[in-house]
């Protein structure tokens, strides 16, 4: 197993897409900066009463799951697209080992990079807000927890992306699913009756990360339920991916 992890780690490092994805996470920082600046300007003009910036994470929260999901997609979709998956499969004992190794590698990279991004986002927002009383500090309730759980959410997204790409065996297919799936709750919650609308909108990864951190008004679930759902995403992704890779001809 550790051999296969070493192999997958080198594959991920020698894949250009990995670096494109990681570079793209800077867009979340830029967006947070712009949003925090615009809110700060509003505060300067109108005083308190508008939306606060808080930790700043919610301003660009939808971006990291999509990007780290792509990291997971590219970790296997390129092998399917080129057919290299066949060569890979001839060199290993069991297919689920390959999947677990890929999951471990993308989850680790997404967790670290996601964490760094979350802290960078937080500090960017606080730097823009400066002395205005609309920011947040780690002394506040749930602020540090929100930053930490956002990083964890990135790891979940990466495994989800890997699972999607393994099941769909197609780069475009997995990327479309990765964008459409988190958007669908926003659409569905509009015509679902209560409490379904609340539940469905609480199922996205950014929302679950906030609920896990017990951020007030973050969603319908408490921290433990949110944790179970996030773990469930990982388990279901890996389970479906394992079934798919084991039972299909390569």
């Amino acid at each position: 197993m550790s051999n296969v992890v070493a192999s997958e780690w080198l594959k991920l490092r020698s894949l250009r897409a990995t670096y494109y994805v990681l570079a793209s996470t800077l867009s979340a920082l830029a967006l947070t900066g712009f949003a925090a600046y615009s809110i700060s300007r509003y505060f300067d003009a109108n005083g308190p009463g508008g939306d606060p910036v808080g930790t700043g994470l919610s301003l660009s929260a939808d971006i990291p799951p999509v990007l780290f999901g792509m990291l997971g997609v590219f970790a296997i979709s390129g092998e399917y697209a080129t057919g290299m998956i066949r060569l890979t499969l001839t060199t290993i004992r069991s297919r689920w080992t390959l999947l677990l190794a890929k999951a471990a590698v993308v989850a680790a990279v997404a967790a670290v990079a996601g964490q760094v991004l979350a802290f960078a986002t937080y500090f960017t927002a606080q730097a823009v807000v400066a002395e205005r009383p609309i920011g947040a500090s780690f002394a506040e309730h749930a602020a540090l927890a929100e930053v930490l759980t956002t990083g964890a959410g990135s790891a979940v997204a990466a495994v989800l992306g890997l699972g999607l790409a393994t099941v769909l065996r197609s780069t475009p297919g997995a990327l479309i699913a990765l964008v459409v799936l988190p958007l669908s709750p926003t659409v569905l919650e509009r015509f679902l009756p209560a409490p379904w609308n609340d539940w469905i909108s609480s199922l996205t990864i950014p929302s679950l990360a906030r609920q896990l951190a017990a951020v007030p008004d973050a969603g319908a679930f408490g921290p433990s339920t949110a944790a179970v759902i996030l773990v469930g995403y990982v388990v279901v992704s890996l389970l479906l991916a394992t079934l798919a890779i084991n039972h299909r001809d390569a």
Binding site: K11, L89, T91
Partner: protein, 319 residues
Amino acid sequence: MIEVTDLTKLYGSTRAVSGLTFRVKPGQVTGFLGHNGAGKSTTMRLILGLHTPTAGKALINGVRKQELRDPMREVGAMLDAAEVQGGRSAFAHLQALAYAGGIGRRRVVAVLEEVGLAGAARKRIAGFSQGMRQRLGIAAALLGDPGVLILDEPVNGLDPDGIRWLRTLLRSLAAEGRTVLLSSHLMTEMSLTADRLIIIGRGRLIEDTTTADLLARFQSGVLVRSPHAARLSRALEAAGATIRPAEGADAGEEPVPGRPAEAGVDVRPIRDVGAGAGLLVTGLTAAAVGDIALANGCGVHELVSRRTSLEEAFMEITR
């Protein structure tokens, strides 16, 4: 050792492989022949556990590929050299594969050296020629120094030097006691490389024989051209030969130099054709044909042993 027993694979209602049984023994190079779509690649994928057989089994060293303890050290494969991710360097590509089998960096360097890619090791595969990719594919198959090698069309895209190199390599690997199975469409190359031939058509086994036996079976032809063709025919038939008119070499018609010869005919410049009609004699040696002609007072304008190429033999039996 590769053992294929009653192997059958259906894709939907299409029978790609049908009740195939053969063995690939160690110590020799076994050629795997068949027209496009005959089921060669499918059979190789089934042996490698990439596809699941509908019925029957394919074993490597007595077990299914999935049951091999250390697959890279037991079997090496090249299915399609184009199936690589171009963004990586040749070295990173091989090193990633090597890691999975617990194989060290030194072996990666050695294999790159062996296939002649040491100079291009740090270059991206995307910039590789087909021949270089082919060498890279062979390098990947050799990584674990396996006892069984399965190569699908390894000669494609190699230059004459490369073909020669590969032939020598495969023959020496077999001489070391390894099992080598390779498919190719290049018949001449196959007749030079393979000791044994497994020929399949429409997913079924057609021939499982040695290259020498197969060629010997088709090699008995003698072309004789005589102005007394009718008399000579009777004499030869009386001696037990089978006679056919030589196709594409009608009397008096000399092949235009430089014109591609018609398929199935051994090309030889015919200098003095005269009025002799060509006869294709099977069942007698050229010497016997000459003696019979002399004994019967038949003039002979041309007398040659007509060697059948593997290509002709292949076309004949897969017809």
